[in-house]
Symmetry: D2
């Protein structure tokens, strides 16, 4: 898809250039955190491990992992856990700079539609979502690319 | 958005031309059914009425409406109700030709991300989703346009 | 659990006696409908088939089955599909006389907590929930027994 | 309900007696943490603030709050956020000693059915759930009392 961007970590890039507004060091922190979070997944039903990481404007990194349930619809995904944890720690709309997700497949898995909607509540449409495959290759799309013509908080208000 | 298509019902079109594979009569049936379904919504919390309709390959129309719950996350949306009802009536992947959604706002509301994901399980990527605003204006996008680079059933299998 | 009631279909009971307000014929209709609905389940991930049936005050029977999704939390359960379908057909609070659920295990499975909450929105606390195991044995509990001290619509209002 | 237990914080109790296995100091920590977490709720739609706190066997306290979404079913509850955050931090089945929930109503609100099911995946049936009302009064029920005859992980396995 021509509108996505990708690069290989380790690829020679200037340390001062930014990738979707992220420094090379920030991308590395995001990748390491989402890959590490995979190990905390509770996924005895799907055996499909997902790790997520969030970079906040404060510089903090917040992790998430999928937490499944015997009643499948009751479980939750890595991306939503990371964002909800951040909110409970005080993060608000405007405080989110990037989200990263790691799985054990290739090409990389994208956030499910439910998570894209959850992200939409808090994050800017141009926030990058970094999706890592099992080998560390990454595909990046913005929230708007992942959830075009989205249903957001403003829609509810326009109904009143 | 240039990739979407729209038309005014009643606009002069040849009766034999197809719109996303739909005849003018089929579009009319979809619109009438989703608008009518809005009246059945259970939405005492949001007061945001949504009606949905599905056209199956059999020619059958199935309706849905949002069914909210005092515990908000437990409720469900019009689109998911329509599809699940169709599945219980025997519909399978390949049996879905179009989905229509009607709300009382303008511009029209799109399916939430959770519904886009639910649709993805059963419908082809080029299936049209017709979104009607309160005045009957429609915006149409395919499932792939609404949920690009989607996480579908094949992803789970590739993990094994 | 002493507060539950059970009986064997076919067990000698007076045809005129009622079981949780249900006639023998009504119990039979509920059982047949939920067992039959199991065949319509979309459960390629859990392989756990669930069928549900609702008896309305109109005498109508509405069926449901579980509809899973590759993104597990996005799927839905048989009980919720049945109730939402009934609501879209016009059923309102007060129109529900009994819910039945059938699975392929023994002892019978109960509705998950999410479904108990969904039921709570529409059904009286003394409504019976009939749970059938694979051999047709049934355990019956009321909604209040399944979801004690429940969070219902009245709680939201009391916050205002 | 005779099977529940309650007490007034500040009521004269021996400091060494245990309440559902909790010391007076532990109960105080749980209460303070769930009340404080309420302030972090993202609830622009319901205006119904919920805070939660978990006590782990390690002695750690984990907080949660409800995080709502414009698409209501996509939001999540305080209890699930707390548990998922704990799991991502490494908590496993057996590591949970108590859950507390605080709202701004009276009598206190209980966890919704979806949360009871989420709790069931990780917590023992005799784990106490402390429910605080706006004035600090508490009602305590065990998980088994809140979700009798529950659908747990063992049910899925018995189907194979
Ligand atoms: Zn997800
Ligand atoms: Zn939706
Ligand atoms: Zn359920
Ligand atoms: Zn809840």
């Amino acid at each position: 898809m021509s509108s996505t961007s990708s690069f290989q970590p380790g690829h020679a890039r200037s340390e001062t250039s930014l990738f979707h507004g992220l420094s090379s060091a920030e991308v590395t922190r995001l990748e390491e955190a989402c890959v590490e979070a995979k190990s905390r997944a509770h996924c005895p039903y799907s055996h499909f491990r997902v790790g997520a990481s969030l970079l906040l404007t404060s510089g903090a990194i917040i992790q998430g992992a999928n937490v499944e349930n015997a009643a499948y619809p009751v479980g939750t995904c890595a991306e939503r856990v990371a964002i909800a944890t951040a909110v409970v720690q005080g993060a608000k709309k405007g405080d989110f700079r990037a989200l990263a997700v790691a799985t054990n497949i290739s090409p990389p898995a994208s956030p499910c539609g439910m998570c894209r909607q959850f992200i939409r509540e808090f994050c800017d449409l141009d926030m990058p979502v970094l999706m890592y495959d099992v080998a560390g290759k990454v595909v990046v799309m913005t929230l708007e690319q992942l959830l075009p013509m989205s249903f957001g908080p403003d829609k509810l208000l326009s109904a009143e």
